[in-house]
């Protein structure tokens, strides 16, 4: 049986925030269009203001864009041994501590919670903690990726 060569010793690593990313209204609108989210609070600042938000509000899964960018520090590290073309998504979980709103400056800390090889496939679980610059929790994004083993020759 072929097996993937993911480095299991990466489990437990923590990648501290690499600066902050400002959420733009354009990014929120483009993501909302892509997931067919037509609620005015995603698109129209005045509508968002009426609901009590400073600017347009992100859809419930928008945080994945920030999490995936941060996870790349690990996923794209050649030493981790992950072949991105063989990656499929296993599980995803969002816990929102407060809504993400355009103008937020968010920091992302990535925790590699688990790396294990099961029947030749690797299952890689990361947890990305998105916070405001002052440490206020915003969203916890937990992601399990499956790195599929190559087919038998």
């Amino acid at each position: 049986m072929t097996t993937v060569s993911v480095d299991e010793s990466f489990a437990g690593r923590v990648y501290p925030p690499n600066g902050t990313t400002t959420v733009t209204a354009d990014a929120v609108r483009a993501f909302a269009r892509a997931v067919r989210a037509a609620h005015p609070s995603h698109h129209d600042t005045a509508a968002a203001n009426e609901l009590g938000f400073a600017d347009v509000v992100a859809p419930p899964t928008f945080a994945v864009t920030l999490a995936q960018a941060a996870e790349a520090q690990f996923i794209s590290d050649p030493a981790a041994g992950i072949d991105f073309s063989r990656v499929v998504h296993g599980e995803e979980q969002f816990t929102h501590h407060r809504p993400i709103v355009a103008g937020d400056e968010l920091a992302a800390e990535v925790h590699v919670d688990r790396v294990r090889v099961v029947r030749g496939n690797a299952m890689v679980t990361t947890r990305t903690e998105l916070t405001l610059a002052d440490g206020t929790p915003v969203t916890t994004v937990t992601s399990m990726l499956v790195v599929r083993a190559p087919e038998e020759p």
């Binding site: 990014a27 483009a30 993501f31 269009r33 892509a34 997931v35 067919r36 989210a37 037509a38 609620h39 609070s41 995603h42 609901l51 938000f53 509000v57 992100a58 859809p59 419930p60 899964t61 994945v64 864009t65 995936q68 960018a69 991105f84 073309s85 063989r86 990656v87 499929v88 998504h89 296993g90 599980e91 995803e92 979980q93 969002f94 816990t95 929102h96 809504p99 937990t142 599929r148 087919e151």
Partner: protein, 135 residues
């Protein structure tokens, strides 16, 4: 709106074309070629181009947020991805989203919604659950 265990969300039906996958790739920054390029998808053993799991999850999230009436009321949302949504070049894939309230916490003012998301007769998301603030 009275929400109780068994309350059903309106069923939604979405069509996904290759162009929609490209739109999601740009909006999300996830440009994995298995979602964009047939040759790459087949080379790694997939039947054809597949939709981003996160696009499917995002569509179902839209159903929950629309039902909640305010997207910030979706407090948590998680799923397992069990089958791919296969998107051929010829015709769009169809994704159907149904949801049912499975728990209500009157004290906390929240409801838990179980989502059933299917494409081409297969359940593509499993244990898709969201907790929504009701007021």
């Amino acid at each position: 709106m009275t929400v109780e265990v068994g309350t059903e969300l309106p069923v939604a039906r979405y069509e996904l074309s290759r162009a929609d996958l490209a739109t999601y790739a740009e909006a999300s920054g996830d440009r994995n070629p298995i979602h964009l390029d047939e040759a790459t998808a087949r080379a790694v053993g997939l039947p054809d181009v597949i939709a981003h799991g996160m696009l499917t999850m995002g569509l179902a999230g839209t159903v929950v947020a629309d039902w909640a009436g305010d997207p910030s009321r979706v407090l948590s949302y998680g799923t397992k991805f069990t089958a791919p949504v296969v998107v051929s070049a010829d015709e769009p894939a169809v994704v159907e989203v149904a949801g049912t309230v499975v728990a209500v916490d009157a004290e906390a003012g929240t409801a838990e919604v179980d989502l059933v998301v299917t494409s081409a007769g297969a359940k593509v998301l499993t244990r898709a659950r969201a907790v929504v603030r009701l007021r």
